[in-house]
Structure formats: C-alpha cells, structure tokens
Symmetry: C2
Subunit: 293 residues, 2 copies
C-alpha cells in the first residue's frame, strides 16, 4: 500500500533543475514516511514521454523539460538503490491492472485522452512495449485519412479529433461567439485556459454547443476504441486521464456506444469497458509494482 | 521440409462434403509421400475464417462452406493422430516467421489484402490471438470515419478502400466506360471476373486509369500500415497474399512510402517491410510448425 505521498508541480527548466526537484520530492516522501535513504529498497519512476528502457534514459518530455537525461544512473548513484524507469502511460495502465479497474484481465487496451492521447497495452498478461518501447501510440492511428495535420506529421490522427486539445480548439470559438456563457465568462478564448474542470462546468450548465463538441470527440474516441478492439480482441478497454475523470459519462457514454456499434460483433460482444479507478495513484502503484518484479 | 504436395479446389457444399474433400486431399498427399496413415505423427490444418481454438471447431468459412464443424475431433478420430486447427492468416504469418520473410524478427505485423484484408500479429516472438482467437482484424480498423459501409457493419474500414474487392469495385466501372481496354476485352464489367492476374495485366499494359485505382488502394494500405506501426512498434511489416504476389511493386511502392510518411518518425525509422516469401507454402509450413510445438 501507499505509506506516504508527496506531490510537486514541476517548475520547467533544464535537466539539472528538474532532476533536483525529483530528488527533493523523493526526499519529501521519505521524510513523511520516516524512512532514511538506507531504508529504500528500490525506486520506480514514470515520466510523461519516450524513454530508453535499456539505458535508463529519459529521451524527451515535452511538458516537463527534461530530455536525453540518464535518470536511472543519476538517481541510483544518488540514492544507492535500484531504480526503474517507465513511461507514465505504461505505469498507470499497469497500476490499473495489478490493483485497479483491470484486475484479473489478460489483454487490456488503455486509452487516455489528454493533451494528446496516450495508449498502453497489456497482452497475454504482460506490458507490451514493441521493439523500442514505443508501442501503444493509439493517438496516432488515422481515423480521417485526409483530416487535419497532426503534430506527428501525419493527417487525421485520432488525437487531432478526440484529445482534450482537440476539444479545447473547438471550444475557444464558442467562448468567442457567444455560444457558451460559461466559457466566455472564464475568458476562455485563450486555449490555455480551457482545462478539464472548466469543460465539466460548461457541460453541467447544460450548454448544448459545448455538449456537441464533446460528443463529437467522444464519437471519434469510440471509433479508435473499435479499431483497437478489432486489432487486439481484449477482455477490457480502460479509459482514463484527467479529462475522463472530470467529465465522465459525457465522454464515456458516447465513446462506448460508438465502440459497440462499430467493432466486429463477435469480438466486441464480451469486451468490458472500465474507467480508470486509481486516478494519479495508478502511475505510482504501477511503477512500484514493475520495480518489485 | 515439404516432401509431397496435393492441392484441391474446394467444391462448395455442406460440412460433410467439404470434410470428405479435406480427408481425400490428405490421403492424396500421403500417397504421394508413400506414407501410411499409421506413419502420420500429426496434422496441422488452417482454414480461412474464425475458429474456436480450444474446442477445435471451425466457426465459419464464407468462401469454403464449412461452419460450426468439429474438424479437430472428426479428423483426429479418422486419422488416429493429433490435429491442430489454425486460422490461415495466422498459420501463413507463422510460416513466414519460422522459414520466410520474417525469420529472426520478434514483433511482426502481417497484412494480406484479398477479398477482405487479413491480419496477423507476432508479438514478443509468439502468435498473438487475443481473448477469443480473433485478434488481428486489421482490415476493420477505420480509416475514414464516415466512409462506405463495410460488411462488418462499420463504416470506412480499411478493407472498404484497400482490399482486392475495393479495387475490383472501382475497376468494373473502367471496364464499362472505356477507360480500360484490357478490362473491357476481358468482359470484366462483372466484378467476379476481376482476378489478381487480370489487374496485373491491365497495369502492365500501362493503363493510367487502372494505375490510379490501384494507387489509391495502395495509399490506404499504407495508412493502415502506419497505424499498425504506431500501435505495435514492430521490427517488420510483412505484406502478402495473391494480389500482392501478382502486382508487386504497383502496390507495395506506394503503400510503403505512405507508411513511412505517415507513421511516427522515431518508430518507423527502423521498421523493415518485406513481401511474403513463401507463397501458399507459408500456410502449410506454419500450420506444420505450430503443430510440432
């Protein structure tokens, strides 16, 4: 179980300054748990971005500001214990698998709409990573062959139409043109101000234009889920992330019904869908469990 | 190695008549190999359609006419040896993996455009089947969310735009409206007359309208391949099937260049693409090897 928690919002910067914040956060958790560094058996650490698992290197983290950094070597040197590095989506899905929504399943597809759309795969009871640890980029399957250009260079990727960013892009217009009072009052013509909580507030106020934008994204999410069901024949699809936690059934109802309409009947009939159960704890629990193994 | 071959074109009919043809074909191969039934160690059999692996039952074969048939029980009773049932796409991909184009790889996506689009997955060195043996339905990932209705009930499935059937659907029009002499002379306004060999002949004659139809399908195939590369991070994608054997680079050049343009650069950079090397033998070699294991 979890014996102590410490949470720090990363202040962007260079590798060294982010690294110091990581060490301080670990120290803070140790202090709260009243454990010395010599009482530490191992550290599991999950980062939002691609990693080199074999070398223990963080390759890139667009939202944290650490890149090409040998985090495992540095941390294990400083703390004097084993350190395991994992991608945050994989760690979170693994947490749901060992202690949350996907307990007892063997084949699980995890899909996490946020800034982009994260994806994770548990196949035959194991985390599937592919040749270079990059597997599960579900946000970059094409659902509209001649759709919008994506940050990855492709066109019509799932995340161009079903991520929180895609929703926010459409909502700024509603903030401007008067179709959403809630968004206008929040000054949310600036896309950076459209957070999951604000989207939830506009939905709860019953604004139909906002509901239509979210419904369209949810439908595309269901199209992507159907593709994954047909590809993986899984026991369960787990949907999670901050947006899903905040708006819940406003997204999941349409996503799941679209998935059931569009996936192959004989495959989808007995596929369960669950929302992630552990919240932020999933990543911590998953990283710790992967480290123990 | 292969010591004898016997090939029979199935004459459609009921379960029993198809079953008799299977037994006769096995007997024919035994006769050619000069082996009696008591010299038979095991039989591996692959069928074009969904199976129940655990119960050894052929669930459905749209083009053969056998369904809900306990093939493993019947054959092992009749031949007095172990029988393994597999799906033909899985068996063929496994054959390429143990003895053909994908030898030495660990993660392989197989894609086989034909009447539909077959797909197979070798992940971490094993055939991946999913919860019910139905995994790998790559033909039914959506590439056009509001595209044509597919036989499966979904809209805009990859196979509605990239299968041999999708190509044939567009070519009948060219046979009628005079844009393809080769097709018109073959009387190919009837979609059933458009075979892979005839498509190859029209392409070799340099007919631009035919080339454009094939190029469009090849582009969509590349879109699907890119989605699979982003999802699986594989070492290799194998493309095969009768159409690819007949028209080769007319499809693979555009499919591969589209895949490389559209998949995530860091994932696709070191993905190899190969055309299936063993032809029809892949299925036989794969079924035999799976049976031995």
């Amino acid at each position: 179980g979890i014996v102590a928690r410490c949470k720090t919002r990363t202040v962007g910067g260079d590798n060294e300054s982010v690294y110091r914040q990581i060490v301080e956060t670990i120290q803070c958790a140790l202090d709260k748990a009243e454990i010395g560094r010599d009482g530490l058996e191992a550290v599991g650490i999950a980062v939002p971005g691609p990693i080199d698992l074999d070398r223990g290197v963080v390759l890139d983290t667009p939202n944290v500001g650490i890149s090409n950094f040998p985090l495992v070597d540095r941390l294990s040197g400083e703390l004097g214990c084993a350190v395991l590095l994992e991608n945050d989506v994989n760690a979170g899905l693994w947490g749901e698998y060992v202690a949350g929504a996907a307990k007892g399943m063997r084949n699980v597809v995890g899909i996490f709409p946020g800034t982009g759309i994260g994806g994770g795969l548990i196949l035959d009871g194991k985390l599937y990573r592919g040749k270079s640890g990059a597997a599960g980029e579900i946000g970059h399957i094409t659902v509209q062959t001649d759709g919008r250009r994506c940050g990855c260079g492709n066109h019509g990727c799932l995340e161009t139409v079903a991520s929180k960013t895609a929703i926010a892009r459409d909502l700024v217009l509603l903030a401007m043109n008067g179709q959403s009072k809630v968004l206008a009052e929040a000054g949310a013509t600036d896309i950076r101000l459209i957070k999951s909580g604000l989207i939830a507030k506009a939905l709860e106020a019953g604004e139909p234009a906002v509901a239509a934008v979210v419904a369209q994204a949810a439908r595309f999410l269901g199209v992507g889920m159907a593709a994954m069901v047909n590809t993986f024949d899984p026991e369960m699809v787990v949907i999670g992330g901050g947006l899903v936690e905040k708006v819940g059934s406003h997204i999941t109802d349409i996503a799941v019904s679209t998935m059931r309409e569009r996936a192959m009947p004989r495959i989808v009939a007995d596929v369960a869908v669950a929302t992630a159960a552990l919240g932020d704890d999933a990543v911590v629990v998953g990283a710790a469990d992967l480290t123990r193994r």
